[in-house]
Chain length 130, copies 2
DNA sequence: TATTTGACTAACCTTTTGTATACTGCTTAC
DNA sequence: GTAAGCAGTATACAAAAGGTTAGTCAAATA
């Protein structure tokens, strides 16, 4: 039995799936969520590190994103007090569960991008390659 | 060789993937895109049909969504003149390419939903089930 | 002939999202 | 002791997305 979203299913089932879809799009949506996640894959970072790594993000937005990412279990905020006070953010193992979703999205996005590009101005592309 | 997005890759590669991701999220993002697509899986529909099916969408937004979906190749606008003028919207075969993406998103969304729910107020859930 | 339906568009308003700039309180470096 | 770094918060503003109401023009219906 293969699962197809786009097919005849009951209305309840369908709205359930739509909600799940909405949730998923919500937690990874927005302009910066994925940038933050990806920045943290290089290793734990502190607030100002993150802001420097992610060029263009403001402190306010970064702060909000980190809070939401924490709520959703992707990111952990670690407070060290040992030599001196210091706060780190790290990705949780849970964030790995996004892997298949992100891969599909990237795969489709790349395909779509090249499709759209090949439809528009294919002549120009040929000329440019001369 | 398995493809992992979250791993050590070059900066160029990474921004390429991020762009693709952005594209993908853009074309299926927004409040109504998927509603429209799903409404059309039941069969071709006319403008006012769609507006009735998708409760809550306004004519303005529906019109915009249809235009974007057309631009992205998901939807075709068919103008009949035969018995009388009549306009239909139909899903293209290209829209099927979204299938794997949507499935992953739904799968993850459902998983995440139940995870979040089980973290919050598990006591209440128990009480409620008595 | 008057009303309804279809397929929209236009003008305007509200909400959400993101940006810019400044500021805080604390600690460390020069 | 002044400056700079850390980890943010506060305030104000701009842009984008979405909602509301009304209106168009043509054809079909009552």
């Amino acid at each position: 039995m293969e699962t197809k979203l786009i097919q005849r299913i009951s209305k309840v089932e369908c709205t359930g799936k739509l909600n799940a879809l909405g949730d998923a799009l919500y937690v990874i949506g927005g302009k910066w969520k994925l940038h933050v996640i990806i920045a943290l894959t290089e290793g734990n970072k502190r607030f100002n590190d993150l802001q420097r790594t992610i060029t263009g993000i403001s402190a306010r937005v970064l702060s909000n994103e980190l809070k939401e990412l924490e709520l959703n279990g992707f990111v952990k905020r670690i407070v060290h007090t040992e030599p001196n006070v210091l706060i780190e953010y790290e990705l949780t193992p849970y964030s790995d569960t996004l892997q298949p979703v992100l891969n599909e999205l990237v795969k489709w996005g790349e395909m779509h991008r090249s499709k759209i590009r090949s439809e528009w101005e294919p002549a120009t592309v040929l000329e440019a390659s001369l």
